[in-house]
């Protein structure tokens, strides 16, 4: 029987990169299980912060002597209803996208509410719908505004810096990230494409062609210190790794329930130890992998 291309095995070329499963996190350490986590952020000093979406809270795990302390600090913020994406600033502040309110909320490193992120001085008005956001190296905030079809770039205080327009043709943009060089990378879930914009570009343009042979519905994106791009394939239960130029490198994990498998994964982050943290949403857990080269 012919197998549709959608499910055909990948052609692996380039340097092999593999994930080795290290650990799965199931609870807050106090017998409170995770429920459908969608967001995750990792920072050296800040530790690991999980958007435990189904429980409407944030969990912070810290590393002690290179080991994860399973007892998490729980942040339950009244203003935060349904966290779906989280980023940590250089100062340790937490920026969280609330899926219900569709607003970005700023929290201190201690979980204290610092206010809603309100863009200031945006030409043509402040109407925007953040589907996702990312923090640049200088803590600039990049908002994926699906209402006005642009990336809004703001100062840490919310002041308007610039906007980068969406291209004329695209499917649906689900997530964006900013690499160390300030390049914006956006994932198109429908066309299975990657778009990018250099720091000086006024408009986003395609970085890759459609990558349908490698993935089903990529909805999350992050990069590592070497600029490699990691696409979280939500429907495919896998992570697809691309080179800086968008060339295919490999894909890791697969759909399933066993440890190391993924079921509807959402956000991923990578720390300086080359560890990948993935919010494994429908498995209601966080999975940690070591990148092996």
């Amino acid at each position: 029987m012919l197998v549709p291309a959608l499910f055909s095995p990948p052609i692996v070329f380039g340097k092999a990169i593999q994930f080795r499963h290290r650990l799965s996190i199931y609870s807050d350490g106090r017998n409170g299980g995770l429920k459908h986590p969608e967001g995750i952020a990792c920072g050296d000093s800040a530790g690991l912060v999980v958007a435990d979406s189904g429980n409407g809270r944030l969990l912070r795990y810290v590393f002690e002597k290179n080991a994860l302390n399973p007892a998490a600090t729980v942040f339950e913020v009244p203003q935060l209803v349904y966290p779906v994406k989280i980023e940590i600033s250089a100062k340790g502040d937490m920026y969280v996208l609330d899926g219900r309110q569709r607003r970005i909320i700023r929290l201190g490193s201690d979980g204290s509410f610092r206010g809603y992120l309100e863009p200031q001085g945006v030409p043509g008005g402040n109407r925007h719908v953040p589907r996702s956001f990312s923090l640049g190296a200088d803590d600039k905030i990049y908002i994926l505004d699906i209402l006005s079809e642009r990336v809004l770039v703001l100062n840490p205080d919310g002041g308007y810096v610039k906007q980068v327009d969406f291209p004329e043709k695209f499917g649906f943009f689900s997530d964006l990230t900013v690499d160390d060089r300030g390049n914006i990378l956006i994932v198109d879930s429908i066309d299975n494409m990657l778009f990018s914009a250099r720091d000086t570009a006024a408009r986003v343009s395609p970085l890759t062609s459609a990558l349908k042979q490698y993935m089903r519905y990529p909805a999350g994106i992050t990069t590592d210190a070497r600029g490699r791009i990691y696409l979280v394939d939500r429907n495919g239960g896998q992570v697809v790794i691309l080179g800086q130029d968008g060339s295919y490198l490999s894909r890791q994990s697969t759909f399933g329930w066993k440890e190391g498998h993924l079921n509807f994964p959402a956000q991923a982050c990578i720390n300086e130890q080359n560890e990948v943290f993935i919010a494994d949403t429908l498995n209601s857990r966080v999975q940690i992998f070591q990148i092996i080269e």
Binding site: Y26, G99, I146, L147, F172, S284
Partner: protein, 438 residues
Amino acid sequence: MNTSNLIPRLLMTIAAALVGLSLVAVRAWSQDGLRLKPGAKGELCLKCHADFDKILKKSSVHPLLKKGDCSGCHTPHTSDHAGLLATGITKLCSSCHQAVVPEKPKSAHQIVYQGNCKKCHDSHASDNPFLLAKAGNALCLECHPDISEIVQKAAFKHDPLRKENGCLNCHAPHASPEQRFLLKDAPPALCKNCHKTGEPDFARKHMNFPVSESSCTSCHDPHGSASRSILLANTHTSVRDGKCMDCHLAPEPQAPPRTKRQGIELCRECHQKMVDEAMGKNRLHWPLAARRGCLSCHAPHGAKKEKLLSGPIAAVCGECHADTLKLQQWSIRNPKNEDLCEPVKTGNCIVCHAPHASDNVLLFSQPSINSGLCGRCHNWNTHSTHPLGDKVIDQRNPNLTLDCLSCHKSCGTGNKPSMLHYATTYELCVQCHTERTR
């Protein structure tokens, strides 16, 4: 003599001879030099095939038959094809009629694409022009029952359907080089062949909105309708009532129509309850909040489908979720899936998913998989002796309980039986019962 040149030349000569032979193969039987009896190309055939006397009297006769050249299509002795045809019907017809399909057409009639010319044409003779098997629209409508139903039921029919040529006034029968749906031209250019957009009456009927360059089929059904203006079966109430200004700013000459607001904010003016309810859920179907808003799935003026959906549900969802649609269609074709879940079989995604927003994962319309979703059609309590339910912890994961989706995949699983995640029961069971692994 240089033998190294001789072999390639010999091979080339043989190849050229083979190509030449194949080119003449189809019409080999009509070539002279075989000491054929007079009339061997056709007249002789009619001595036995007496029924052709009647056929030849029809008003439209295939030119080859008319000149008595049966061997133009048939071989006299043997053939691998029915009716002693010289080759398959696709190749046979297209060997003379290749021009009926342009190169790389935008749309092509499926039966032309399949080479099933006989579906519409009688290969020998007919009393209809172009050897057509039936006259008028009847030929088209017998294969297009959905259009046939609209035409039959329509109190107000589109004039071209009643005129000579019927469907072919707007559609090309074989292929269209530039247009979808075999259209001869794209609306509004096609429509403007008959409808004079510059006349005052046209402007009055369209509330003075400059619609002459808009797509007419976004409001009108070109096959007919219950309304005098042949509006689509499902029409936005504002359009039906001629209240364009409910949504649009006052028309400006030569400027395209503009809406009062952008995206969902415009629709919210009337559909406030629905919009507010959706916006208050944890998980929003994000396209709803994007620039196109509701128009990602709905047509603003009118549609053939209920709730102004821009197409059948599976097609609308599949526009973005092509991977899931592919899985569903693959599952439908899988013979092992006799008990395929009805909503999957019919592509009715919204039986399980809330199209606008939900508090549940995967935009499920119910929080409970067992009793809420699957339980509406399946009695899961008697389905299996296997423990199931909110109190039964999944052995693989302390945060999960066993529900229908622990074993089955709700949108189908391609080539696997009974919508199971795995190809065999064994593979499925040992996911949890690892001690049973062989």
